[in-house]
Symmetry: C2
Subunit: 261 residues, 2 copies
């Protein structure tokens, strides 16, 4: 029997420290192949590269692991891995470990999460991992421990078709962790998002995206932001079917009536 085949991607690029840690953990579970962006692709969401071609090159940077760098987005990487690079469908798609948290609404902008969603679209068990720090000197001990546990859980139990996991690991010491918390995506948004500057030559305005995050669910104790703030690793099961089923009938009862048709 074949060993499980594990595809790893990310959005920080194949040269990031986080992907190295994830490769190291994943090797315990099967044959690992990395297909990841050749440059940082943060906040690329599920974007695809349609207007220009994709370039892929094998690269020898991980011990005993085949790896390919790709000129596209995280979603491109997972697609091209499954369709062109891998000889069989992988048993697991892992993304990360992202440098910086992907809690709350950031899940919608994240390229890390998008890579896991792409695996999920292809009906493969998929997990996105992030560590909640941008430090250059990261202690990955807890991350390694919890990545291993969550991968083990998924391989032993499988995820429901159409659902993948979004995992955020706090940057704390292993012994300070309170464990793993399965929870919901926090309601939130970014506010005052731009810094306006003036071009030095033509005096025209330009803008940098910046801003502060607003937590719109501060009283909840069952969401991902609460979990990481309270020293838990937050695991949110997320769906690729965005339908709000509870709203279908309410809208239908008015919008499909004679008045509107």
């Amino acid at each position: 029997m074949n060993k499980p085949l594990i595809l790893i991607s990310n959005d920080d690029s194949i040269f990031s420290q986080g992907i190295n840690i994830l490769v190291e953990v994943a090797k315990k579970f099967g044959e690992v192949i990395v297909v990841a962006p050749d440059s940082p692709q943060s906040a690329k969401s599920n974007a695809l590269t349609l207007e220009i071609p994709l370039f892929v090159r094998e690269i020898d940077i991980f011990e005993d692991v085949k790896a390919y760098k790709c000129s596209g987005t995280p979603a491109d990487c997972v697609k091209i891995a499954i369709n062109q690079i891998l000889k069989r469908k992988p048993d697991l798609v892992l993304s990360g470990i992202n440098h910086g948290s992907n809690t709350s609404v950031n899940i919608l902008y994240s390229g890390t999460v998008a890579a896991a969603m792409e695996g999920c679209i292809h009906e493969i068990n998929s997990i996105a991992f992030s560590i909640t720090t941008y430090d250059t000197n990261i202690d990955f001990e807890l991350a390694k421990n919890h990545c291993e546990k969550i991968i083990k859980y998924v391989m032993e139990n499988n995820l429901e078709n159409g659902t993948c996991l979004n995992v955020n690991i706090p940057h704390i010491k292993l012994h300070d962790s309170k464990g793993i918390k399965v929870c919901r995506q926090t309601k939130g948004m970014w506010a005052e998002e731009f810094e306006k500057r003036t071009h030095p030559r033509n005096n025209r305005d330009y803008y940098w995206i910046t801003g502060t995050f607003v937590n719109l669910a501060k009283d909840e104790t069952d969401n991902d932001i609460w979990a990481v703030k309270n020293n838990y690793t937050a695991v949110v099961p997320i769906k690729i079917d965005l339908t709000n089923y509870l709203e279908i009938n309410r809208i239908k009862s008015v919008l499909e009536t004679e008045h509107y048709l």
Copy 2:
């Protein structure tokens, strides 16, 4: 009292025909302001422009409507409109009319849908419109009629907080339409997604994303692909909270146990 303020964006660029049609319809409901990409941004999903600044310029292309072209993605456009350009929070965010369908899983890749999702994140009633054709000679009569009805519905009834609408209008004659159908996102994916070619100079391979769509819910009669194929305009209420609430307890019952902690 102020007239309702309506923000319009899209992903085909401010110069597309579809946005022109949407502006024309929206003017019946209030004061319209357009902030849209200065170049095509298809398949950009919810991507944000973080590494380079955004440039915005007023442009006089719509009758009696202020318009701004922006160098960023659809999500950037909605963010910068709300934060920098508009004097008050809009009452409605409209996106489209996109040239080409955004049914099924394409909702995850679509820049058109992302613009509506961004409005929804800001707690504004938001709707994404697409017409299911890439023809250059489009009959927009049905689209105008149904856009007007759906906008009217949303302004009269409001959407639930955290939910926006994804609308796909078939490219058929007005009198051939069977009406509006509120339905679910079709389960589906893209297969055989790449065309491999060889670089003329260095003999290296490169890839174009292509492929065929696979409908994984062919027997359903309550999804968006079924609706547009059967001459209905498909309206799918979609959520920005991706949490699979039904799975939280099942995963919790195993993953939070001693065995895994």
